[in-house]
Each structure stands twice: as structure tokens, then as C-alpha cells.
């Protein structure tokens, strides 16, 4: 049975990846799983200089979800290249760095350096973090700024360019279509939804940045909808993300049109979940006599009788 997935020129050994921001740089997860088994590890959003992230409260549980306001804390490019990447490559992992620069120039430079680094065949451009004031989500919610950034990033990126879309727009398919036009090899859908928590004791927003990103099973139907709509609009692969908590959820995304999926928040709850889902997909395909993922990818779009 072949469960490998093509994303541009890159082949993932299977469709199950771990999402940026929920897998660190692979070190912690590797205490629980063999990270070389994963389709890919999307590492924590990188900037050129290390970033401390947001102050105050950073995370809180919500019904079947999590609100976070980490603010892209990361080790910076130099430390990533010097220490984090060698660990990941030594572990046999397929690494896809997530790029989260503040400015167009910073994103261009990161795309350039990372995509031309040995061992990196793809980068994911994060245009959708809701937790940083400059840049971040503005890149992902204004179609003009989005397109300009992508044109520049595409020119600098040697390998596969994946764009992580913000769901905090009226029509996410416009952004997916613009990404395809700019030459992106795939889109990841979706990043977190903007949310908020008010502390009724202090009568103030719980987070210093006021708004925060909602993830986890609570957003799964919203994310499935986004993937389904994007699949109808573009021909490049979609990586489905949003509250996947088991094999059935992953299959739902694939049937909606996702070529691959990312496990995010649920890594925090069950660090072994991603490899369990790889096994689960194999078992499902085996039991239904499905020879390849292409047989079920986007199958929900086919009307009966067709």
C-alpha cells in the first residue's frame, strides 16, 4: 500500500505531519515517538533574530480547544541552523521550517537561506499568526500585501514553497488561488481562528495581546469547510489542519480534499497521536481495500452517480 504524498517536488512518506508551533523543533516529541516516521515535522515559526514571544498569560483551555498567545517565541535562524536542524536531520525527520518574519525582507531572507540549506526541501511561509502585532496576520488577511509577499518569497525560494493560510478572512479560497497564481506548491489550511477570553475576576482580557488563536477539536468543522472550499478552487495540494484528534478526523480532511494533514493541538494532549494516526490510516485503507490515497482524496466532492 502506498501512502506517500507529493507536494511539489517533495515526496512525503505518508500524509501525517505535525503542525508548526505544536512540535517545537522535534526534540521533545522524539522522547515519545520516532519522528522519522512522520510525513514531515513543521518546526516552530522562525525569525532571523531570536524572539521572546508575548508576555503574561500565553495559553488557556476552552471547550474542546485551546486559546494561545505565544507570540512566535523562537530560537532564531542561527541557532536553528546550528543546533535544531542537525538534530532533526540526524533523527531522520523530514523537516519543513515554518517562516514567520516581521517584514517582507525578513521573510524573503529566511526563504532564501532556509530553502538553500542542505536537508531542507520545503519551507512553509506563515502569513497567518494572529499573535504578533507587526506583520503576522496582516500578510494573510490583505490580498494585496499577501500577493506581493508571495511573489517576492517565490523568487527567493529554491525548493517547495508552502503557504499557511489564515482563516480570519471572508473568503479563504481567494488567498489559496492567489497563492497558486504566485507559484506556491501547496497551501496549509488553516492556522488558528481569532478568539478571546475575558477574565471575569479582573474584568479584563485574559491575554495581554487581547486576542488569541483558537485551535483544537473545537475548530475542526470550520477547518474541514475551508479545506473543502479550497480544494474546489485550486489544483495545488492542500495540507489540512484543524483539531485533528484521530484517524477518523484525518480521513475527513482527506475526503474533503487534503493531500496531507497536520496534527497540532492534540500533540500537546497525546504526543504519540501522530504515529497512531499513520497506523490508523493504513488500517482503514487495508480494511476498505484502498490501494492509494488518491482513491479517497477529495472523494466528498464527487456526487453519487458520477
Amino acid at each position: 500500500m502506498d501512502i506517500s504524498v507529493k507536494i511539489g517536488k517533495l515526496t512525503l512518506k505518508n500524509p501525517v505531519t505535525v503542525a508548526s508551533g505544536t512540535a517545537g523543533y522535534g526534540e521533545e516529541l522524539s522522547a515519545y515517538i520516532d519522528i522519522s516516521r512522520l510525513g514531515a515535522v513543521f518546526t516552530k515559526g522562525l525569525s532571523i533574530k531570536p524572539r521572546e514571544g508575548n508576555r503574561g498569560n500565553r495559553i488557556i483551555e476552552t471547550p474542546s480547544g485551546v486559546l494561545n498567545s505565544i507570540g512566535l517565541e523562537n530560537v532564531g535562524l542561527d541557532e536553528f541552523l546550528k543546533f535544531k536542524l542537525p538534530f532533526l536531520l540526524k533523527s531522520g525527520a523530514t523537516v519543513i521550517p515554518n517562516i514567520a518574519g516581521h517584514s517582507e525582507e525578513e521573510n524573503e531572507e529566511l526563504c532564501d537561506v532556509l530553502s538553500h540549506t542542505a536537508g531542507i526541501d520545503a519551507v512553509e511561509l506563515n502569513v497567518s499568526c494572529p499573535n504578533v502585532k507587526q506583520g503576522g496576520m496582516a500578510f494573510g488577511t490583505d490580498i494585496t500585501i499577501f500577493t506581493r509577499l508571495l511573489e517576492k518569497a517565490r523568487k527567493k525560494t529554491g525548493g517547495c514553497l508552502i503557504v499557511k493560510l489564515s482563516p480570519n478572512v471572508t473568503d479563504i479560497t481567494e488567498f489559496a488561488a492567489a497563492a497558486e497564481l504566485c507559484g506556491a506548491d501547496a497551501v496549509s489550511a488553516v492556522n488558528t481562528f481569532l478568539g478571546m477570553k475575558i477574565d471575569i475576576k479582573t474584568r479584563r482580557p485574559h491575554f495581554e495581546n487581547k486576542v488569541a488563536g483558537l485551535s483544537g477539536p473545537a475548530i475542526k468543522p470550520l477547518a474541514v469547510r475551508a479545506v473543502y472550499q479550497i480544494y474546489e478552487k485550486v489544483n495545488i495540494p492542500v495540507i489540512g489542519i484543524g483539531g485533528i484528534s484521530g484517524t477518523e478526523d484525518a480521513l475527513e480532511f482527506i475526503m474533503a480534499g487534503a493531500s496531507a494533514v497536520s496534527i497540532g493541538t492534540m500533540n500537546m494532549v497525546d504526543p504519540k497521536i501522530s504515529v497512531d494516526i499513520i497506523d490508523g490510516i493504513r488500517e482503514y485503507m487495508d480494511s476498505k481495500k484502498i490501494g492509494g490515497l488518491a482513491e479517497i482524496k477529495g472523494i466528498a466532492h464527487i456526487r453519487s452517480g458520477e
Partner: protein, 246 residues
Amino acid sequence: MKPVLVEKPIEIARDHYLLRITGLPEPSAGQFVNIKIGKGTDPLLRRPFSVFNYSEGTTEIVIKIAGKGTSLLKVSEPGEIDAIGPLGMGFSVLKTGSALLAGGGVGNAPLYYLAKKLKESGTGVKFVYGARSSEYIYLLEEFKKVSDDLTVTTDDGSSGKKGLAAEEALAAGGADIIYTCGPAGMMRAISDGSSAPVEASMENYFGCGIGICSGCTIRTVGGLKRACVDGPVMEGKKIIWEELCR
């Protein structure tokens, strides 16, 4: 071997329950176990609980009822429990001299196992057991057994001395090290006021408990540290407490 809750949680004081779990490796003092409550997605995140005691394969934790998760956990039936651990960096166990242990509320729990380990190494243990009032004091006789000297303080004077555990601990002084676990304000007062080194076990909100989310970050003089993997026990004098006590 899968972790098993050997019996229903036992009420040991108002809002405090003792859970006994088998199938977890032996912890060091100050480590925690991370428990998923129920099989569903609400509550979603694991809850971290410091180890209260470990003996002959059984790990004991004390939980304080704080919300939805702990309210469900306290009515757990015996049987398999989804617990990961022990996790995190615990206390350094002083091998000689004398130690002062100051706990507040549920924060007394990890200090019990520490006191036991200190006693085993021949280190003197002076314990200040802080609680809101007498009804919240749990397993005091057990704490006395592992202490050379134990003082109870309560906020309302309903048991022991009326006052704060931090003040009592600082007034006692003379120890080679102070170990503390409790509310941030208490641990801050001890860290600021003590001339001896202080080790504080952090009780802030954890996301994953395994170091991947950076949600529990503590600001220290050495930069940001994740309470779950760099702690929960940290050097009290290196923590920038203003950030935690706002």
C-alpha cells in the same frame, strides 16, 4: 505497564483529594505527573500534579479542586488512568546540613516527598505548613513524621499560628536552603527575603507539560524558561517575579 488508579480518590481535606496510581516509574522529589481526564475533548489538556509520595511502586498525588477538570478527576473510578510521568526537573536534594521547607495549600504536597528524601540523606528538615484555614489542612500527621520540626500557619488562625507561611519561614531562617511550593506571592516573598538559596516549584498554567507549546514560560534572569521541562522547580532568586505577580 499501564498506569492504574488503585482506588477512588480519597478526600483528605476540604477540596483536597489523594490519588494513588501504580504503573509509573519512580520519580525524584518535585517531579509531576500529567493526567488526561476522561476520554473526550472537554476537558482537553492534561492537568499537571506534583508527586506527593512514592512507595513500593505506588505514586501518590494530591489534587485540589479548582475547576471542571479536577471536579471530574475526583470522582474517577479505579482502573486505567491516562497519566504520563514523572516529568520535569525536581528539587536538588541537599545531602547534609539543614533545610527549610515552606508550603502553601496544595503546594505542601511535593514538599512531603522531598522531606522524606531529605530525612533519608540525614538532612535536617524544618517544615512550615501554610494553609488558608484548618479545614484545608491534609495529612498533617504524615508531614510531622518526615519533619524534625513542623509549624502550621493559617491565614485566619484557625489552626497553628495566624499569619503567612512566608513570614514564618523567613523568621525561622538559619537553613542552608529553602524549598518552597505555593502561591506565587508566597514564593516571591521567600525568594526576595531569604539569604539562603531558594528552590521554588512553579504552579503556573501548563499547556502540554512536555515542552512543546511554550505556554508555561517563566521569565528568569537567564531568559525564558519553560516551567514544565526546565522546571517545575527553579531557582527562586533567578525568577523575575513581577511578571508572575501582576
